[in-house]
């Protein structure tokens, strides 16, 4: 039964009255139930693109914050890629000082309203949470991400988010390639030091994967726009429709246009395929294409958008990560009757955030686990008719630490589908490597950097985010953007 936000709020309010003013013993805190995230009703939300998770109410966030045991050794912080002082902001939230809590987060993270929504907290801060450890269940950890989201949204809605102070001009120029999370973070931190910052984005809208990849129902685009507006108000120049490597080479930016340093945060951006027969049939899409059509090109709004959509009844999504969940849930919203995630390992190994998996299930997405696609079958018109899959079992852990899927002979079967979305990850886009002399990349095409400084093989050129990490997370990209910015600032001060 779906609990409404009103029901959840009443429960929290009653609880809050009993708990009093946060003067609780550890034993008492350990009896406070985890506050559920209020969501749109699943049956309703699959008919719209609006945000699924509605965010805590004030009562809920206070109750949840009171669950925090305020451990002396702060284990949660070691799980945070940018080292947010988590217990400190949670204590502020428990006391109702949400603006203060936001300020605490902002000391370490630039995009809390985004990270609160898209970070895989159960593999980061919440994995280390003592509460979850005591309960022997990570899902019982303090919902750090949800509290983060609340305080960030609160500060935004109450206009308590201040534009960072920008030092006086140093007359040094920094180019930022890309406008996703790594680039946004790097741009802000470099600009604060008084350097001129020019950002280059290839698409007609800035924001990178936050705009073309992550759907509206998980990350409202107005939040992304707000962060970009913030950059603009700091004086960062954002140039769209500019593909570094083609419109102008990286070398020209450095040698002819007078940039003193460059940060590359161009993203992974090269979709992987399984290389099985049938992948070029009509009705087979990379997740990038599928999501870009819907998100960036707004094809979900067929009344207005000129970008066409492929009509689907039965959609198969290959893969088990966040992008696969986004694709499956998008397919549902675009009108598919049946959507099935096909993943070769079991539910425990699904790389997606737990919450996304839960939301997908609530929305009626099928999970065909322990199955590996072997071939996409065509009808007489060259369109997808079905997918040949084989059943797998789990063997010993592989290099990634996850148990390796082993195909079971003689288990092939064909399942009917009319659309396939391939969502098995991204490789690095080779464009910059191809057009930039001396830029070293590894076997996978990821740019090689000095781990300490984020500097590439070219002096004064730094990189971070997915172009270095391979497809990773927003927070890791942001963390690298900030690290690179620190190095760039030091480099510019010394040169």
């Amino acid at each position: 039964m779906h609990a409404t936000i009103e029901q959840l709020d009443i429960q929290a309010k009653e609880l809050l009255a009993k708990l009093g003013d946060n003067n609780l013993s550890m034993k008492e805190r350990l009896t406070i139930p985890l506050q559920d995230m209020p969501t749109q009703d699943p049956m309703q939300r699959i008919t719209n693109m609006e945000e699924v998770a509605l965010g805590y109410t004030e009562n809920q966030v206070k109750v949840e914050a009171m669950r925090c045991l305020q451990c002396k050794n702060k284990p949660c912080i070691q799980g945070c890629p940018v080292g947010i002082d988590i217990p400190a902001f949670i204590l502020q939230a428990a006391k109702g000082d949400f603006a203060g809590a936001n300020a605490t987060i902002k000391e370490s993270s630039l995009l809390p309203s985004i990270c609160g929504r898209v970070c895989p907290q159960e593999n980061q801060c919440q994995e280390y949470c003592t509460y979850g450890k005591i309960k022997k269940d990570i899902s019982q950890s303090v919902a750090i991400g949800r509290i983060e989201r609340y305080v960030a949204d609160y500060a935004r809605e109450h206009n308590q988010d201040v534009t960072p102070f920008v030092k006086k001009s140093t007359r040094k120029k920094v180019a930022i390639v890309g406008s996703g999370p790594a680039s946004v973070s790097a741009a802000a931190d470099v600009r604060r030091e008084g350097h001129t910052v020019v950002m280059y984005e290839a698409l007609h809208k800035a924001g990178g994967v936050l705009v073309y990849g992550i759907p509206e129902f998980r990350l409202p685009k107005k939040l992304v726009q707000r962060e970009l507006d913030g950059l603009a108000s700091m004086g960062v120049e954002i140039n769209k429709n500019f593909l570094v490597g083609k419109t102008r080479t990286l070398e020209d930016l450095k040698d002819k246009d007078g940039f003193d340093a460059i940060f590359i945060g161009a993203g992974a951006g090269l979709p992987k395929f399984l290389n099985i027969p049938g992948e070029n049939l009509i009705g087979v899409f990379s997740a990038n294409e599928y999501l870009t059509r819907s998100n960036l090109m707004k094809a979900y709004d067929q009344k207005h958008s000129l970008t066409p959509l492929f009509p689907s009844e039965k959609v198969a999504v290959f893969g088990g990560g966040n992008v696969a969940m986004d694709s499956a849930r998008t397919a549902k919203r675009l009108g598919a009757k049946e959507v099935t995630i096909i993943y070769r390992r079991s539910e425990d190994e699904l790389p997606a955030r737990k919450e996304e998996v839960e939301h997908a299930k609530e929305e009626g997405i099928n999970f065909l686990l322990l199955h590996q696609p072997h071939e996409i079958i065509a009808n007489e018109k060259g369109s997808v008719k079905g997918v040949k899959v084989v059943t797998c079992k789990l063997g010993e852990p592989d290099a990634s630490g996850r148990r390796r899927p082993i195909e079971i002979e003689g288990t092939e079967q064909v399942i009917d589908f009319d659309t396939v979305v391939v969502s098995i990850g991204n490789a690095s886009n080779p464009l910059l490597k191809q057009t930039t002399k001396g830029l070293d990349v590894n076997k996978r095409g990821n740019i090689i950097i000095n781990e300490e400084t984020c500097e590439t093989s070219i002096k004064g050129v730094y990189a971070g985010g997915d172009i270095v990490l391979g497809a990773a997370t927003v927070i890791l990209a942001m963390g690298q953007g900030r690290k690179a910015a620190k190095s760039i600032n030091a480099y510019l001060n010394n040169n």
Partner: protein, 282 residues
């Protein structure tokens, strides 16, 4: 930004525009293309080839056929107005070098992207013969420009209203036999390129074609433009748009081009309503 400086209607549904785009004019090379988007949340991204460029004036020339709602909207922009988003140059440039004898085949508005390639090949000392095909005499584009640079210009029309009443493959076959070219470059409707490649295959003449597949970003990110080239999947936007015509899996490519056919039919009708363009026979 991207101001339209000149606009001309070349035939019923074909338009020429000269647009201010200094960066692209400076960087572009023959064989490359641009993607444009007319602003706002809802407009499509449209890939178009670059017909010409003037790096001194900072302009590029676009020649396009108004076939769908988006290209009709583009055609309705006037001199002094702007193309809000214009990205380029995209794709890998043509390999321009001394081949010797070259036949360039341009079908319909495929002549537009052919022009800078033919020009560059000619400037490098290649002997260039040009075959231009259209349905009728009114549908030729850039005929004068091509006439000026070709060592020989052969025209074909479906109805015989200009040049020979033939498909471009007829004179192409004859040239393969009598003139023995070292290179054929064919640009035009996919079906024309397919048959040009089939025509040159028995003569073993290297044949370059320029593919115009469905694409969104044009930077290698979406993979919507993927084609089979000699058994390998390639992206037209970054690996192409030019490929060895003998290696292209034409049937697969033609099929994929039809992905949105049912929706496009509806839109094509819709786009003539309220827009200032007659429904030509182009």
């Amino acid at each position: 930004m991207n101001e339209i400086l000149y606009k001309e209607k070349l035939s019923a549904e074909v338009f020429k525009m000269i647009v201010r785009a200094p960066r692209i004019a400076e960087a572009r090379k023959p064989g490359q293309f641009i993607i444009l988007q007319l602003g706002g949340d809802y407009n499509e991204r449209i890939p178009l080839t670059i017909a010409d460029a003037d790096s001194e004036k900072g302009t590029i020339t676009l020649i396009f056929q108004a076939v769908g709602e988006s290209t009709h909207k583009l055609a309705n922009l006037n001199v002094g107005e702007h193309i809000e988003n214009l990205l380029g140059p995209l794709g890998t440039p043509t390999e321009i070098k001394k081949y010797g004898k070259v036949v360039c085949v341009g079908g319909g508005i495929g002549v537009a992207p052919m022009y800078p390639i033919a020009k560059a090949l000619k400037e490098l000392g290649n002997e260039v013969k040009i075959i231009m095909g259209a349905r009728n005499k009114d549908l030729f584009v850039m005929r004068e420009e091509m006439e000026a640079l070709a060592d020989e210009l052969i025209l074909t029309t479906d109805d015989g209203s200009a040049g020979r009443k033939a498909l471009v493959t007829e004179p192409l076959k004859e040239l393969c036999e009598s003139w023995k070219p070292d290179l054929v470059v064919a640009i035009g409707p996919p079906i024309m390129m397919k048959f040009c490649a089939l025509t040159t295959k028995p003569y073993n003449v290297h044949t370059i074609v320029s593919l115009n597949t469905i694409m969104i970003d044009g930077t290698g990110m979406c993979g919507g433009c993927r084609v089979n080239i000699g058994g390998e999947t390639k992206f037209v936007c970054v690996d192409g748009p030019e490929f060895d015509g003998h290696k292209v899996d034409w049937d697969n490519m033609l099929m994929r081009l039809g992905t949105y056919k049912p929706q496009e039919k509806v839109n094509h009708h819709r786009c003539h309503i309220g827009l200032n363009i007659e429904e030509g026979d182009a």
